[in-house]
């Protein structure tokens, strides 16, 4: 099949055309929309005007000025990044031992153990959020039990639902497999003879881990972290259903601009900032990963 380069391009043409229209173009349109005025009844206003028979552009920097004019949005972004960082760290703390255990178990059980991580990951996203709504519900066993214990110590009742804690638990729950899978793929490839050699030279388990396993696994850690960090950064459903008022993230405000207040230009501004942040994180991660 070599030598016929036109044939390769022919193959790539249909998917490329599709993705240019439905992925690349919409992204550029959104960048353009961030400089337009909002329509009177929502949506976008026309981007040109007829004046004295001449076309003039009707674009503005207002939307971007609105972003920079106050620190509300900066703080919102920082808060979202904060949630993403904390979720990533917790996923790493929980996912690392699991991935290590799977990678070090026997060949036969390995596939089954891995499948058990993948299955919940393939169950519906909303169902997984809903499960935590049941667990954290005020009438649920967990809340009643906690309040029973708190009552013994004379403390007032608490609610779990609509709290940052509830949100974090659910964020970790939904994204944990994204951390485990790349970590496992990395850990599974390690040459265990290295650990045996270290053992023979008198290194304890702990030293073996920090001097051999951990440094070798860094590219897996980075890959997993990116896969967790980015979807959490753009999340709106979990804060929407579990977070309450304090839990609002950047995704919720974007959703609000497009669906409720229908200020599309400003929604586009926020989306562009999110896009740039996500791209920067991916590039930074792959740069760090390559250096390993």
């Amino acid at each position: 099949m070599q030598g016929k380069s036109w044939y390769k391009y022919l193959l790539s043409l249909p998917p490329m055309a599709y993705l240019l229209i439905f992925f690349a173009a919409p992204t550029l349109i959104m960048l353009f929309a961030s400089f337009r005025y909002a329509g009177e009844y929502g949506g976008l206003a026309p981007w040109y005007l007829h004046e004295n028979g001449r076309l003039t552009l009707d674009l503005t920097l207002e939307n971007w000025q609105r972003l920079l004019g106050t620190d509300i949005y900066l703080r919102l972004f920082l808060k979202s990044i904060g949630y993403a960082v904390v979720t990533t760290l917790i996923c790493m703390l929980m996912g690392y031992p699991l991935a290590l255990m799977i990678a070090r178990s026997g060949r036969k059980s390995r596939d089954l153990l891995l499948l058990l991580v993948i299955l919940p990951f393939w169950s519906n996203f909303l169902v997984r959020i809903y499960a935590w709504m049941i667990i954290f519900s005020p009438v649920g066993a967990l809340t009643r039990m906690l309040n029973g214990v708190l009552d013994l110590f004379g403390a007032g009742p608490i609610t779990l639902m609509f709290s940052p804690t509830a949100m974090l638990v659910c964020l970790v729950y939904v994204h944990l497999p994204f951390m485990v899978l790349p970590l496992y793929a990395n850990l599974e490839k390690h040459d265990l003879d290295l650990l045996d050699a270290a053992q023979d030279l008198g290194a304890g388990k702990w030293r073996q881990f920090w001097l051999i396993t951990w440094p070798l696994s860094l590219s897996g850690v980075i890959a997993g972290s990116i896969l967790v960090f980015i979807p959490v950064l753009g999340m709106f459903a979990i804060p929407d259903l579990l977070g309450g008022i304090d839990g609002i993230m950047i995704g919720n405000v974007i959703k609000q601009q497009f669906m409720e207040s229908r200020d599309w230009p400003f929604g586009s501004v926020l989306s562009m900032v999110l896009t740039v942040t996500a791209v920067a994180v991916v590039l930074l991660g792959s740069r760090l990963g390559q250096r390993r």
Partner: protein
């Protein structure tokens, strides 16, 4: 080679518990004879019965199946082409276009497609949802196919070429049959991704084109009811079956490498 470390095993077991307990609760309470998802009262099928008499739910299920079938079919064709092309040439643009939709937060694809569809005056409905679902499914199919090709022995194609087979004949008789498990697994994955998608559907659906996840969302927004448990259980069962078949066909695909 086995290094048994009790601490490691205990922590792993706890993580498994964390992964499964919530889902088990959803399933168990779908059979519970009480409106509250709080205490076990008694066994019942009635929430499933209610589900099958709920017109909106049935319409949403129908929509979901239509959208997932069409999107998966189209995405499988386009994704297979992309996967083969990605293997054969290192086209940078193609790789970026295929991988970027997977790497970006879903909400961005949702809102940007909404802007596109409105700009071209398209009525939001089944078609707009399908066009959106195809966009994010292509990449997953392409990766599945690409993984399969790289595990293929290039000698087979070369041998066929040496024996005088044309490019097309070679593709049809050798490459395609060998790729089939990867293509099918990719297609099944696209089907579940489509049927499960909430975020992108949320932005690209119009009036009267509700899907199962959208239906679940609007129900849980109001209250936690056992009917949601029942529909969730059925949806999980469907995904479980499809993914099990896909992983039999091509284990590497489902692991989402």
């Amino acid at each position: 080679m086995q290094r048994r470390n009790v601490l490691l095993w205990i922590s792993a077991a706890l993580v498994y518990l964390f992964l499964y307990l919530p889902l088990v609760i959803v399933v168990v309470f779908s059979f519970n004879d009480s409106r509250l998802n709080a205490e076990w009262v008694g066994f019942t099928w009635k929430w499933y019965g209610k589900l099958f008499h709920n017109r909106e739910m049935l319409a949403a299920a129908m929509n979901s199946l239509i959208i997932a079938s069409v999107s998966a079919a189209v995405a499988t064709v386009l994704g297979t082409l992309a996967g083969i092309a990605m293997h054969q040439s290192r086209l940078r643009l193609l790789q970026v276009l295929v991988l970027a939709p997977i790497a970006m937060p879903e909400i961005l694809m949702g809102v940007s497609l909404l802007v596109l569809f409105i700009m071209v005056n398209m009525t939001l409905g089944l078609l707009s949802i399908m066009l959106a679902h195809i966009t994010f499914c292509i990449g997953f199919v392409a990766l599945a196919v690409q993984a399969r090709i790289s595990s293929m022995d290039p000698c087979l194609v070369e041998a066929a070429r040496d024996l005088g087979a044309s490019t097309w004949c070679c593709f049809r008789e050798i490459t395609l049959p060998l790729l089939m498990p990867g293509i099918l697994a990719g297609g099944l994955m696209a089907f579940t991704l489509s049927i499960d998608d909430f975020v992108i559907t949320f932005f690209t659906a119009g009036v009267g084109s509700s899907t199962l996840p959208l239906q679940i969302y609007s129900m849980v927004k109001i209250a936690v009811t056992p009917e949601v448990n029942a529909v969730s259980t059925l949806l999980m069962l469907l995904t479980l079956v499809v993914i099990t078949v896909a992983s039999r066909l091509s284990p590497a695909v489902v692991q989402g490498e």
